[in-house]
């Protein structure tokens, strides 16, 4: 019976959503909490059985020959992601429950998205993966356009058209692999890819799949859909999108590039490192010039994804583990920041960063958690950002140019959060508070996890990944000194340049990329990657 738990993970949220939609009663919506509880209990049992016997995690649906049927497979990577998703969805449901009890359709789409995302993480068949990719695109489009005002519709159609184009290219890659190997089972392809890997057709399939994945995970030329989509949605949805669903693209990258093709097959490590570094720098520059509270956080997500790509491109060792840990840590502290920002925007009724002052005196509990989030994201010791950022720089600590890029990204991060922390200072403002204890429960749980991972990283590292993380030292004098220097440089940069709002800052802020330019850059990306792979390597 334990083998069937993956199927239960998929269908319990879907059925919950349909029941909520059909029975339009206010009190029946509390079954969402019951279903989350059932999911958590089943997840606990499943992990316990998996530790004793890893073979329980591979099931063939229908009992046919597993080279030609659909299979579901779980391993450490997907189980970590499943645990994180169940936790994030529970927090978001606590946060948004009181206002959304009457919005049956919103809860229906949200629970359906949870079921489909859990299925996306577990499937072992390439065409099934494509169907789930398209389903996630359609669901997120509907959820973004829920408010039905001008900016939401604009963001929704931009997101839909660009991501559908990326998924179509992913499908062309799958077609070529099917005709070459006869099967679209990922485990089978992982063992047998070495037969034809140097043929030009297989290299073309690799390029097309990587370009489809780059659109989904918002890498350098193709990230323009992200600030629009994450800035105009409801706050609970923005927390979920920035925290979890954009990491789906990075999960696909790990499955296709690192596991299925093998990270050493085509020697593309340096290429992906520089793409990641470029993404991180462009993201942090754009984040520094924004005036809207949620847009700063949304642009900042782009730069953190670049940082994760800098770690994941190595494919093995401590940098790769650092990238994986940064995925989990970023989900936690970015959603913490988004949820606190949502509370602040609701009370102050404005989104502009220059109009909000005095948060520390008016809303003390919220501002404490906001400070925890800001310290985590900038890499202060004792918080979880420090662990993952130190691990990422392990593989290239001997190369000065790469360390220079890494330092630039960190300084930019600290500067943008000094700009963000402007809202804390000032006098007390008279506000009418909304009394909802459940929102504070979710913020408190996430904040506690941030501090917990920051202090107890050694047992977690050896238990989940089997690696020794003693490279990261909590009381390293050089790390503390680095952090204080970053704060100093960031403060000077902010005070004398960005706060004055010079002409270049205004030019960068009003930069809008049209849809045609985005497609032109997509073609340019495919041609340059194929030129590098075919003729230079």
């Amino acid at each position: 019976m334990v083998e069937l738990f993956p199927v239960f993970f998929i269908f319990i949220p879907i059925f919950t959503g349909i029941i909520i939609y059909l029975v339009k009663n206010k009190h029946v919506t509390s079954i969402v909490f019951l279903s989350q509880l059932i999911l958590a209990v089943l997840y606990g049992f499943y992990v316990y059985h998996y530790i004793q016997n890893p073979n329980v995690a591979y099931i063939v649906l229908g009992g046919w020959d597993d080279k030609f049927a659909i299979t579901l497979k779980n391993d450490t990577l997907s189980l970590t992601f499943i645990g994180l998703s169940i936790f994030m969805w529970t927090s978001v449901l606590f946060y948004t429950y009181k206002t959304n009890r009457i919005y049956h359709k919103y809860l229906f789409f949200l629970m359906f998205l949870e079921g489909i995302f859990l299925a996306f993480l577990q499937t072992n068949d390439l065409f099934n993966l494509f169907i789930f990719l398209e389903l996630i695109t359609v669901l997120i489009t509907i959820l973004i356009s829920y408010k039905k005002n001008g900016p939401s519709l604009k963001a929704a159609i931009y997101y839909l058209l660009l991501n559908t184009l990326g998924a179509m290219f992913f499908l062309i890659g799958i077609i070529i692999l099917y005709y070459t190997y006869g099967s679209i089972n990922i485990s089978y392809l992982q063992e047998n890819i070495g037969l034809h890997q140097n043929h030009q057709m297989v290299k073309l399939a690799y390029i097309l799949m990587i370009s489809g994945i780059s659109v989904k995970s918002a890498l350098f030329p193709l990230f323009t859909w992200l600030p629009k989509a994450h800035g105009v949605a409801y706050t609970s949805l923005s927390a979920l999108l920035s925290g979890l669903l954009v990491k789906g693209g990075l999960y696909l990258f790990i499955r296709v590039h690192v596991y299925m093709f093998g990270y050493a097959t085509y020697n593309m490590t340096e290429v992906f490192f520089y793409i990641g570094a470029l993404t991180a720098l462009v993201g942090v520059v754009l984040a520094l010039v924004q005036k809207d509270l949620k847009q700063i956080l949304a642009h900042h997500t782009i730069s953190q994804i670049g940082l994760m790509m800098m770690g994941l491109s190595y494919g093995y060792g401590l940098s790769f583990t650092g990238g994986l840990m940064h995925i989990i840590n970023h989900a936690l502290f970015k959603s913490l920041l988004f949820l606190c920002a949502g509370l602040i925007i609701y009370e102050y009724k404005t989104k502009k960063i220059y109009a909000i002052r005095g948060v520390f005196r008016s809303m003390p509990i919220t501002s404490i958690f906001l400070i925890i989030g800001m310290l985590s994201i900038s890499g202060a010791p004792f918080f979880n950002g420090y662990v993952s950022k130190t691990l990422i720089k392990y593989s290239f600590k001997a190369e000065p140019f790469k360390m220079f890029l890494y330092t630039l990204v960190n300084v930019g991060t600290v500067t943008s959060f000094i700009k963000f922390s402007q809202i804390l200072f000032g006098k007390k403002v008279d506000l009418e508070k909304r009394k909802d204890a459940k929102q504070f429960v979710s913020i408190f749980a996430i904040g506690l996890l941030c501090i917990g991972i920051g202090i107890f990283y050694k047992p977690i590292g050896s238990f989940i990944y089997g690696l020794d993380l003693s490279y990261v030292k909590l009381f390293d004098l050089k790390a503390w000194l680095d952090y204080i220097i970053y704060i100093g440089i960031g403060y000077i940069l902010f005070k004398y340049y960005i706060d004055k709002d010079y002409k270049p800052v205004q030019v960068i802020r009003s930069f809008q990329m049209t849809f045609e330019t985005a497609n032109y850059l997509f073609i340019f990306y495919i041609s340059s990657l194929s030129f590098i792979l075919f003729y230079l390597l």
């Binding site: 069937l4 199927v7 269908f11 879907i14 059925f15 349909i18 939609y21 059909l22 063939v60 649906l61 229908g62 009992g63 046919w64 020959d65 080279k67 030609f68 049927a69 659909i70 359709k105 229906f108 789409f109 359906f112 489909i116 299925a119 065409f127 099934n128 169907i131 789930f132 398209e134 389903l135 359609v138 669901l139 489009t141 509907i142 356009s145 829920y146 039905k148 099917y178 005709y179 070459t180 190997y181 006869g182 099967s183 034809h196 043929h199 030009q200 057709m201 290299k203 073309l204 032109y520 073609i523 340019f524 495919i526 041609s527 194929s530 030129f531 075919f534």
Partner: protein, 233 residues
């Protein structure tokens, strides 16, 4: 940059991708792999009980895919209805074609065609495992037949909320029927008769699934088209 330079560079980049594709496909037949086709040709009829191999694949070997294809139709219909909602709650949709504007020729031909198309659509759905056809294809034909009613009679109203409710219930019934095989055979998402049952018994499962999928697809397409017509008033 100026539009002319941009278009020329675009054509050059696309030409480069085409050149890469042509040089790769010239010796593709050396690595072409036949394993999938030979497996289905050898085992398809005995395992699934359907003469049509394609129906055997999407209703037995890859039933999991078809369930989520039905789910994406459900989501798209719900999304289109959500986006097109006006602030006044209108449960019924009326047609925008006015009786005086539709020519008599259209109305007469639609009256002739409607029963023939409906019958043809139901034939394609039910005979999916014996001849080319199946649930998805037949569902589209039945949806087109119902939409021809728009030409015949403008006072016909369609209650869209009832259609959406029936569609969701059909989805739950579909998933439960597909998972019935766990009780009889010990594996999920396949035919619930045993592997050595007779051809007629296996055909019961195939026909039932085809009818459910066909009903779901046709209701969904009718709802989407009705939502678009409502917008046009």
């Amino acid at each position: 940059m100026s539009p002319l330079i941009r278009r020329i560079s675009l054509v050059l980049l696309l030409g480069f991708i085409l050149f890469v594709f042509i040089t790769s496909i010239s010796d593709f037949s050396t690595i072409y792999n036949d394993d999938g086709k030979l497996f289905y040709y050898a085992n398809g009829f005995q395992d699934t009980g359907s003469y049509n191999y394609v129906t055997g694949i999407y209703l037995d070997y890859r039933l999991f895919d078809s369930l989520f294809e039905a789910a994406i139709l459900l989501i798209a219909v719900a999304g289109v209805m959500l986006i097109s909602e006006h602030s006044i709650d209108e449960k019924n949709a009326t047609f925008m074609l006015d009786k005086q504007k539709t020519p008599e020729l259209f109305i007469t031909f639609s009256r002739l065609l409607y029963p023939i198309m409906l019958l043809f659509g139901i034939y394609v759905i039910v005979n999916g495992h014996l001849s080319p056809g199946g649930g998805f294809q037949g569902g589209a034909i039945v949806a087109t037949a119902i939409l021809i009613l728009y030409y015949i009679d403008i006072t016909k109203t369609v209650n869209v909320h009832v259609v959406l409710t029936i569609e969701k219930i059909l989805f739950i019934v579909l998933v439960l029927t597909a998972s019935l095989s766990y009780l009889t055979r010990g594996v999920l998402f396949t035919n619930f008769f045993r592997l050595d049952a007779s051809l007629d018994q296996k055909a019961i499962f195939l026909t039932l699934m085809n009818i459910l999928i066909g009903a779901k697809v046709s209701l969904g397409l009718v709802a989407i088209f009705t939502a678009f017509l409502k917008e046009g008033r």
